[in-house]
């Protein structure tokens, strides 16, 4: 009887504490993100990143930049542009990103398998 009591109390307490923790994490995450978004909202004018992007939009009007609701944020666009510039060499100043589209998977399956195997050896 006592054994079952230990098991029952043990599992209930472990679950209760971890559920409580997950609720607390959710609450404080929401609070932190609200505070940080409010800060960003008020300091919109002196946010250098956003300013740059809006300038780019003016200089190079591109379909993606004007449609941020598609889920591509300026950071992702910057990363993709930087990767293209790096792989093409040169300063990258002559590149204009007009559109970014997700294309289907074209890599041969053996390449993917090889890549995955390599990643696994590095894990």
């Amino acid at each position: 009887m006592r054994t079952f009591e230990v098991v029952l109390v043990g599992m209930v307490v472990v679950f209760a504490v971890l559920i409580l923790l997950s609720v607390c994490i959710k609450i404080y995450s929401a609070i932190v993100s609200r505070i940080s978004s409010r800060k960003n909202g008020s300091g919109n004018n002196d946010n250098p990143v956003k300013k740059n992007v809006s300038e780019t939009t003016v200089v190079n009007p591109s379909p993606v930049l004007s449609q941020p609701q598609q889920g591509l944020n300026p950071e992702v666009i910057a990363v993709i542009a930087a990767a293209i510039a790096a792989s093409m060499g040169g300063s990258g100043s002559d590149i204009k990103v007009r559109s970014i589209r997700r294309i289907g998977h074209t890599t041969p399956i053996w390449n993917v398998a090889g890549r995955n195997e390599y990643i696994l050896t590095r894990l």
Binding site: V6, V14, L18, I19
Partner: protein, 395 residues
């Protein structure tokens, strides 16, 4: 003249360790050599098994006086006698006995752990909790066997936490006489996680479930990461004060890491300090597995039972995690890959790697590693809490 010579030589032989070797000493030395082989050649957790098995080897050579089990068997323990008569291992073992080493190791683990995946997906805490069924299921099993006391059963059950320092910490508090076999079983099975888990994971899931691709985790801000250790410390210790040594040190380490203002401290905690303490811990835990213990009636049988129960603990924990993952997948409408549930048994980061590997066998495009890290680190918190509860209930 000749007689004196023979007498002197035979005296030396009789005083030497050889004359004092018993068959049990040979058995223990053999076991130590097997573990050294596993550690060095097979690379099973070598950082721990090398010191543990060497400690076992050195302590089982008679007359060396490195470890004196009779000093520790006294009830109550006479610490002055240990300081006066104890050997090198006896003095180092004080850190284990007084519960100093495991929390210090947790400090280092805290520095090395990124709780980001957990903060970005707090639901994974539930998977970390579900995998603790392994601990309590094994407790039931050990009690059902009938030849363990409540305290011993709790110490064996904690093997299912798949967390070496937690297992050692709880065992020294509850059943120090079983420390050697429990530590060896815990670390050996942790090394065997890639062998034990995949068959269970595959048996309990369909190929379609294993191929589920999960949504990308949201990025976690620095403020959230800094708040996490503080909130967990306050909440957990207020609810379960007996888990305070492990949880507080783990979270202090994590605060070192995330605060970013104490680089020197976090570097020391995750490198020099944890390595020094691991050497002392391994060496002395191994040294507790002495031939004198094996000669006690029934100890060998108990050690075998511990090894069997340890395997059950790992298997039940894995199965419970995967099944709970399936439940969460069903509730969420197919958004959670049940394979990440098995990572809830701690064994960081090995169990998460196993989730990644098994997931990728079904869908080579799938990357579950970061999703599995959430339950994985939640498992560390979960097993520390389970240890605290067991200590409170049976201690």
């Amino acid at each position: 003249m000749w007689q004196d010579f023979v007498k002197a030589i035979s005296g030396i032989i009789q005083e030497s360790g050889f004359a004092n070797m018993t068959p049990l000493h040979f058995v223990m030395i053999l076991i130590a050599c097997v573990f050294l082989y596993l550690a060095i050649v097979k690379k099973y957790e070598p950082l721990l098994l090398v010191p543990i098995s060497f400690g076992m080897l050195a302590a089982n050579l008679p007359l060396g006086g490195l470890m004196n089990p009779h000093l520790w068997d006294a009830n109550p323990i006479d610490y002055m006698a240990i300081l006066r008569e104890g050997g090198l291992f006896d003095l180092l073992y004080l850190g284990v006995k007084l519960g100093i080493y495991p929390p210090v190791i947790f400090l280092g683990i805290g520095v090395m752990t990124d709780f980001g995946p957990l903060i970005s997906n707090p639901k994974s805490l539930l998977l970390g909790a579900a995998a603790q069924f392994g601990i309590f299921g094994t407790y039931l099993g050990a009690m059902a066997l009938g030849n363990f006391t409540e305290k011993q059963a709790a110490s064996i059950a904690i093997i299912g936490g798949a967390d070496g320092p937690t297992a050692i910490w709880l065992t020294t508090q509850l059943a120090p006489e079983l420390l050697g076999p429990i530590a060896l079983a815990a670390y050996s099975y942790m090394a065997l996680v890639p062998v034990i888990q995949p068959p269970i994971m595959k048996a309990l899931t369909t190929k379609k479930e294993r191929a589920i691709v999960m949504e990308q985790l949201r990025p976690v801000s620095k403020a959230e990461k800094i708040l996490f250790p503080i909130i967990v410390t306050i909440l957990t210790i207020l609810i379960i004060p007996s888990a305070a040594p492990l949880i507080s040190m783990l979270m202090l380490g994590n605060l070192f890491r995330e605060s970013g203002v104490v680089g020197r401290l976090s570097e020391t905690a995750e490198n020099a300090l944890i390595n020094i303490v691991t050497i002392f811990l391994g060496l002395t835990v191994g040294a507790t597995a002495s031939a004198d213990k094996l000669s006690q009636p029934g100890f060998g049988l108990k050690a075998l039972a511990i090894i069997g129960l340890g395997l059950i603990a790992f298997s039940v924990g894995t199965a419970a995690g995967v099944l709970f993952g399936k439940l969460m997948n069903w509730i969420s409408g197919g958004k959670i890959n049940p394979l990440i549930g098995s990572a809830g048994v701690s064994a960081v980061p090995m169990a998460a790697r196993v989730s990644q590997k098994v997931g990728q066998e079904s869908n080579p495009q799938n990357f579950l590693l970061m999703h599995a890290m959430g339950p994985n680190v939640a498992g560390v918190i979960g097993s520390a809490i389970a240890a605290g509860v067991l200590l409170y209930m049976v201690g």
